[in-house]
């Protein structure tokens, strides 16, 4: 085995107490650590023995199919056959890697991995079969993995693809252990920001249910301020019957003061009290009348992965093993060690394939529940959330309220003002307590809310600013973070400004774009969609076409065109979509296309359906029927074109979601003459 010694894992010192004034001691929560990877660390991801290699995937696999792309890097740089490399998902036994977020897996991990593989290749060819390998980073141009050709730019069968079509146990909930029990932690149907806990229950009735094992009061830390009551059964279906038999009564410490969420984030009400504190663009638009002045509201939305989060925990010889479908196994480990007072070295988290995450599986919840119930019983315990728990206890895309204004003269935008009110994303209330959030609010703002608020255009005197308010429902990262809603507002305003200027929306955008890569995707989208082509009228339908473009995290670009048909009752059908995407060098074009397709379908949802109903400060949705996601019959023919590029690879998992919602909204505007300003669009607003 040829493998550099593991770096010492950062750990310890996580439980500290600091003063928060007034003699009150507040516990500092475990905050995820996000070290960028380097080539030395990458040597720990690749192992060689007897002509075979094992790639320990330094990322979570959740459908971005990064296991395939990074294996392509490994095989190319090592110069070895596809079948000689095995891919395994990591455990926390390896040195810490940062959470799998932000479309970073190829962008940040491909080069260190390639550098490590190049060093390993040279060592092997020099006959070294034992001892340490030293990585001397070489220029990127010398790395084979960054040159198109061979495996780079091809699309081999996806890693774990065969397991998926065979139904192999790949996910956390598929783990089965001898003596395993099934658990659930019940929590009050109330805001997670209000103190709640179990008050009274009927243990005798629960005990009478066949399959009942235990009620567990010590069931781990609260979620927000919701303290739970654990139940354990020897068959999973029995948990519903036990929960019902318990007839639980909850203590609930009143109503959350901002239970009216729409009112809490009303941007106009907020603006009437003064300027917004967090400035993204600091231009000073002239006073006076605006040519475009619109208010857009985007509601709260669930991630809606088909896999409700799950974990299995097992205690053996004082060591706790946890199987989890998580975007951050190391954070799960640190959180559990802290919550239960365990030495970090006694806790191991095995990351499993995730059944969809989209930013939502970054915190520690179900894993701590499984750990608590295992510690209470000594048996392995599996916990998988119900769909209703996913809605009630997860965090969600925050609602956002936008006031966006533009002034136009001689075909150009001269002044621009974008104000946004939202809730926290990066400094999510799901991890950051309110006292700490007050500090981040004062000094840092929230980069997740700000993301994409700086429009990718030259806009004259441009101002963009936002504020955040902590809500009774937890909010946090959701595919694209703030960039999706921000771009929807920006692209809607750009379309309106083009109409004011009397200029074609594609040409109008081009006139405001300085970045040649963004201009190129926009022009190409116009070409492949035959922009300017007027569709033949269809009896009883209003047809329209819209366009939008944008940049995600400064370096990846996309443009989209959408066609819609709106019937007399105001029902919208997207009939065709085109997308041109530039994320630099493409390692696996088929899977980058898959990410674009997914984003386009998420965009359909953003405009037409995404909404998470709340009532009295907590989530009211129980099933997919209450928070629908796009279905097959909603999805039109989609054309995706990838720009061939030799720029270093950039992110691809969230870029198209900044453009397709705007294209669809603008198509609805073109079809109906009405500007969608309240999402999801409602048929009654578009009926004739």
């Amino acid at each position: 085995m040829r493998r550099r010694a593991f770096l010492a894992a950062a750990s310890g010192g996580l439980v500290v107490l600091i003063g928060a004034g007034g003699g009150v001691w507040s516990r500092v929560p475990v905050i995820p650590k996000r070290p960028d990877p380097d080539a030395g660390q990458a040597l720990g991801w690749i192992a060689h023995m007897d002509g075979r290699f094992t790639l320990t995937l330094p990322r979570a696999e959740m459908g971005q199919n990064i296991a395939t792309a990074l294996k392509q890097i490994v095989c190319t740089e090592l110069g070895v056959e596809w079948d000689t490399v095995d891919v395994v998902l990591h455990t926390t036994d390896m040195p810490r890697v940062k959470a799998t977020v932000g479309s970073e897996s190829v962008m940040l991990f491909a080069e260190p991995l390639a550098q490590a593989c190049a060093a390993l290749r040279e060592a092997l060819s020099a006959g070294h079969v034992a001892g340490q390998v030293r990585v001397t980073p070489r220029p990127r141009a010398d790395l084979r993995a960054f040159r198109a050709g061979g495996l780079i730019g091809s699309s081999p069968e996806i890693t774990q693809g065969r397991g998926i079509v065979f139904g192999a146990p790949l996910y956390a909930a598929d783990v089965r252990l001898p003596g395993m029990l099934y658990g659930r932690v019940l929590r009050a149907p109330a805001s997670v920001e209000v103190q709640t806990g179990p008050l009274r229950w009927n243990p005798d009735a629960a005990r009478a249910v066949s399959g009942f094992v235990a009620v567990v009061e010590e069931c781990g830390p609260p979620i927000g301020q919701a303290q739970g009551l654990g139940i354990i059964a020897d068959r999973p279906g029995t948990l519903d019957a036990i929960a019902e038999a318990l007839a639980l009564e909850w203590s609930v410490a009143g109503q959350h003061p901002r239970s009216d969420i729409a009112r809490a984030i009303d941007v106009d009400a907020r603006l009437s009290t003064g300027a917004l504190p967090h400035v993204v663009l600091d231009g000073a638009p002239d006073d006076g009348l605006w040519d475009v002045d619109m208010r857009l509201d985007v509601p709260m939305a669930a991630h809606g992965p088909i896999e409700p989060r799950a974990a299995v925990a097992s205690l053996q010889d004082g060591a706790l093993q946890v199987w989890a479908g998580t975007q951050d196994a190391f954070y799960i480990r640190d959180f559990i060690a802290d919550a239960f007072g365990l030495p970090v070295k006694t806790v191991t988290v095995q990351s499993c394939r995730i059944g969809g995450a989209f930013g939502g599986k970054t915190i520690c919840t179900v894993e701590a529940e499984a750990a608590a119930l295992t510690l209470a019983t000594g048996n392995p315990v599996k916990v998988q959330w119900t769909r209703a728990q996913e809605y009630a206890l997860g965090f969600h895309r925050p609602p956002s309220s936008h006031r966006i204004r533009a002034r136009v003269a001689q075909g150009r935008i001269t002044d621009w003002d974008h104000a946004q009110m939202s809730s926290h994303i990066m400094f999510t209330a799901a991890v950051v307590p309110s006292w700490m959030q007050r500090g981040t609010d004062m000094f840092a703002g929230d980069g997740g809310v700000a993301r994409g608020m700086a429009a990718p255009y030259v806009l004259g005197r441009a101002r963009a600013a936002y504020d955040t308010v902590r809500l009774p429902v937890h909010t946090g990262p959701w595919r694209g973070l703030g960039a999706g809603p921000n771009a929807l507002a920006i692209e809607s305003a750009m379309h309106e400004a083009a109409l004011v200027a009397g200029i074609d929306p594609l040409a109008f955008r081009l006139a405001h774009i300085a970045d040649p890569f963004l201009a190129a995707v926009l022009v190409r989208a116009g070409e492949i969609a035959a922009w300017g082509h007027v569709p033949a009228p269809v009896q009883g339908l209003r047809l329209g076409r819209g366009i939008a473009c944008g940049t995600y995290k400064d370096t990846s670009h996309a443009a989209a065109v959408a066609d819609v048909a709106v019937d007399s009752q105001g029902r919208v059908r997207v009939t065709q979509m085109w997308c041109v995407h530039d994320c630099g060098l493409v390692i696996n074009p088929d899977q980058v296309r898959a990410q674009c397709e997914g984003n386009l379908i998420w965009s359909l949802g953003m405009v037409l359906s995404d909404d998470l109903p709340t009532a009295a400060g907590h989530v009211a949705a129980q099933t997919f029927a209450d928070a629908p996601i796009p279905r097959m019959s909603d999805v039109p023919p989609i054309t995706v074109e990838l720009i061939q590029s030799d720029r270093p690879p950039q992110g691809a998992g969230e870029t198209a979601i900044v453009v397709a919602p705007g294209a669809i909204a603008n198509a609805i505007r073109a079809a109906t003459g009405r500007r969608p300003v309240r999402f999801p669009v409602r048929a009654e607003d578009l009926a004739t």
């Binding site: 959740m62 459908g63 971005q64 199919n65 069968e157 996806i158 774990q160 693809g161 065969r162 998926i164 079509v165 065979f166 139904g167 192999a168 146990p169 996910y171 909930a173 598929d174 089965r176 099934y182 399959g211 068959r235 999973p236 279906g237 029995t238 991630h303 809606g304 992965p305 088909i306 896999e307 409700p308 394939r353 995730i354 059944g355 969809g356 995450a357 989209f358 998988q384 119900t386 769909r387 088929d590 899977q591 898959a594 397709e597 997914g598 984003n599 386009l600 379908i601 998420w602 099933t623 997919f624 029927a625 996601i629 796009p630 279905r631 097959m632 019959s633 999805v635 023919p637 989609i638």
Partner: protein
């Protein structure tokens, strides 16, 4: 009580009779291909085939398949030889996260057994209640059309 599971007869343990069939399959028989997604028959991640008809294992009482024939994704391949639908799923790179795909594949298999040459409208109608959050729907359509040529 007994049923035919992927061609073989098995007893239904009495204490599992009131469990959802999904949990009997996953936890008792270790057939974890069918997934728990919603528990109320909306998402289709638990789709299996009961006497030739696609069905939601999360809302079927285990005891109610007494005497019936149940097929799960684990029974599709003949050894290493994939069912044409499984092969089409690989050829089209359908899966992203993959969690819903066992249910998607079983719905597709049932469709092709009933309608060997489906139109895209047939596909949309048969598959519309199998949800996928990743957005693999265009590839599912394409994979079913190409599997139809092989079946």
């Amino acid at each position: 009580m007994s049923f035919i599971l992927n061609g073989q007869s098995h007893d239904i343990p009495p204490d599992w009779a009131d469990e959802p069939l999904l949990f009997l399959l996953r936890e008792n028989f270790a057939l974890t291909g069918a997934k728990f997604g919603c528990g109320v028959g909306i998402c289709g991640a638990c789709t299996i085939i009961v006497d030739g008809v696609p069905a939601r294992a999360c809302i079927i009482r285990a005891g109610d398949v007494d005497g019936l024939s149940v097929r799960t994704i684990e029974g599709l391949a003949k050894g290493d030889v994939l069912h044409p639908v499984q092969q089409a799923w690989l050829d089209h790179g359908v899966a992203q996260c993959g969690y819903c795909q066992a249910g998607q594949i079983m719905s597709a298999v049932a469709l092709l057994e009933q309608v060997p040459e489906p139109s895209t409208d047939d596909i949309d109608a048969a598959m519309d209640a199998n949800l996928c959050r990743c957005g693999t729907y265009p590839r599912i359509r394409a994979a079913i059309l190409s599997a139809a040529e092989q079946v």
